[in-house]
Symmetry: C2
């Protein structure tokens, strides 16, 4: 297994900052900037929500024109710049322009991200001032400040880094907390590497389409596998920049294999810090009728309020898990289902609760003990011939989730 750290020292050729622009009332960091000394190959994965936020539209346009010379990403919190019409688009472009001017680079070399409340316009004076502060604060070792600068209801900054034996690094920051569904999240992720991504030899080294493929694949097994509340945000974006500053060219398969656990580390950090979360839950479906069924069952269980409140209460109410599977629209033979719960995060099939269409003679105290653990694995084997494994990471639904989201805008 690769060794991914929860901190970031530095990544060659990248300077970053996190500053307070006056967007958050409590004085916390509320904007972040990522800057590369040299042009980056860049790729992005974006929300599937039809109500795309203005920064998503602008980034997609920018990457369509220029995905080989990206130099910077500017991020603001507190306002998502979503459902803001033409003025929102104009404001996102202005944010891009101001950042380019202050950095002395081209407008189409800057990407923008916003997160926060939907349906309000960006406070442009504060944004302009913030961009100035963020440029002034750039430094190679400011990754924690940058990670804090993109937080909304997150309680912890989310960082991941991996130092490859080949001599290059991969690092990333993310924010999550609520509006997290399978298929992205109110999730912003920003991954950088100093591996070379634009070497001339096509087959052996990373070219731009490869970077996109790699990021999509990395996201598919990480950010697309997490659920806090099942709501998909208008702003979900994961960007990846590769500046080649290490001077080392990475092979596609190697870099892709190293990227996956970095993405997974960030995705799991998002779930662990889900709004009000008290438990980390791994849901693994095996032997479903087909892959889509496995995904459907996993996501239905992961987003069921009844399942999630039972986990919060430490109640081994496994019937709700079986009932969620039953309403998932997947084909199922009730008599072939087997359900286990286990401690921790590994697939261990520790305690069998259900088989042959009915509960086993399991020990209720043992089940309750497992349900009170901070990390729990749910494994459901659907009993068909094909493996069709699918994993989703989720958290419980607590009183605090309701408190946080009942008054988010205030």
């Amino acid at each position: 297994m690769t060794d991914v750290h929860s901190t970031i020292a530095s990544v060659k050729g990248f300077k970053v900052s996190g500053i307070h622009a006056g967007l958050k009332a409590d004085g916390a960091l509320d904007m972040a900037l990522i800057y590369s000394d040299t042009p980056c190959m860049a790729a992005g994965v974006f929300t599937t929500n039809l109500m795309k936020a203005a920064p998503v539209v602008v980034d997609q346009e920018t990457l369509a024109k220029n995905s080989t010379h990206i130099r910077a990403v500017i991020v603001n919190t507190k306002c998502a710049n979503a459902c803001t019409g033409q003025q929102g688009i104009d404001n996102a472009r202005q944010m891009q322009r101001w950042t380019a001017e202050r950095l002395g680079i081209g407008e189409d070399e800057v990407l923008v991200m916003s997160t926060g409340v939907i349906g309000t316009q960006l406070p442009m004076e504060k944004i302009q001032r913030g961009i100035g502060l963020a440029v002034d604060a750039l430094g190679a070792e400011n990754w924690e400040a940058a990670a804090r600068g993109i937080m909304t209801t997150d309680t912890q900054p989310k960082m991941a880094s991996y130092r490859a034996a080949q001599g290059y690094s991969i690092a990333g920051i993310a924010k999550g907390a609520g509006m997290i569904a399978p298929n992205m999240a109110t999730m912003l992720g920003l991954i950088v590497t100093d591996a070379a991504a634009n070497y001339p030899e096509p087959a052996a080294h990373i070219r731009n389409p490869d970077l996109g493929d790699m990021l999509h694949s990395g996201a598919e097994y990480s950010f697309n596998r997490i659920a806090v509340d099942g709501d998909t945000s208008t702003n979900d974006t994961v960007l990846m920049l590769a500046n080649g500053a290490s001077g080392i060219s990475a092979r596609y398969n190697e870099l892709s294999t190293q990227l996956d656990p970095v993405c997974a580390h960030l995705a799991k950090a998002v779930v662990r810090d889900g709004e009000g979360a008290t438990k980390f839950i791994t849901i693994h479906i095996s032997h479903a009728f087909d892959y889509d069924d496995a995904r459907s069952i996993a996501n239905t269980i992961a987003t069921s309020p009844l399942v999630k409140t039972a986990f919060y209460g430490g109640d081994a109410n496994w019937g709700r898990i079986i009932a969620a599977a039953g309403r998932s629209s997947a084909k199922l033979d009730p008599n072939k289902l087997k359900l286990w719960v286990s401690r921790g995060e590994e697939l261990r099939r520790e305690l069998l609760l259900f088989e042959n269409g009915m509960p086993t003679a399991y020990d209720e105290n043992e089940a309750s003990a497992i349900m009170h653990e901070p990390s729990i694995v749910v494994e459901l084997d659907c009993g068909s011939g094909e493996p069709n494994g699918y994993t989703v990471w989720t958290c419980d639904l607590s009183h605090d989730y309701v408190s946080i989201n009942g008054h988010y805008r205030s």
Copy 2:
């Protein structure tokens, strides 16, 4: 409009009871029995969950053999008899048999319903004793006791009755509270009428297939339009019995038109008493691209935890409503959407919040005042040419929902 009452005096030829069989620890009523002096035409609509509870399986089998001579329905709470394998089926049949024996009728003249915890076997000694008590307690005017005898986490008994000018009555009881999704609910409903349902003249009077059609139609515009938490139960069942004791034959169109508001009254009562609910919310979608899209948008909004917590907090965070529409998988043109909120339960388009892809210049205090009302209407016009109206009733997501469901089994 028809005049539906929230109480039931009596319905000719029906005797009912609600008793305490010792299933609930607090001594509350926990079983109910509905009995008709004469054979009834009967029909049912059942859960779409693949993990059908044993009583659902048994009722579907019974109705397939005999839907023209049903005499009784026995109901227990506290145990859903779901995910209980062959023993569960045997127990449901035993419950049917005991009821038939005590009433001196045939086994296949009895239907059974169970609600409560999934995955435990019925406590058959208590059930047997309860059946005896329920038969002994039968009376024409015990409808409130019967309605109380089917309650789980419901805080109020749910009854509806309508006295037709033609001289017959329609009445029903229901239970809901949690595990309520569009497409039924942990919802048990039992509707009776003394209108004649087996008259010989085919066209003018109700025959058995008609009763089923009528009930399906009634359910489609009521029980299938409500959402508490989006979870679909293993036990959802609505039964309808028609005994003809009034001696009056009802015309299909008339009875169907009268049945709909009785179903709607019960369905709304389920939402009003949703687990932890503090607000009653009507969501109406119009001018979606097609009918399926309208339903998909309405149900996505109604089951979004972020939307529901914002309603709980009285926060006019309408961006979450728009974002939920955007992720619903329906086709949408963001710039054609219009969103209103209104006080009460009627479609009034009181305050326009969003159009042309951005917020209007609405008064935030006015929006907040509406969001603090106990009943709120959300209207979303998607701007396509066709009306495609679709309404869902739902409630907010509160701290109490989490408390109730975190420890449901204890």
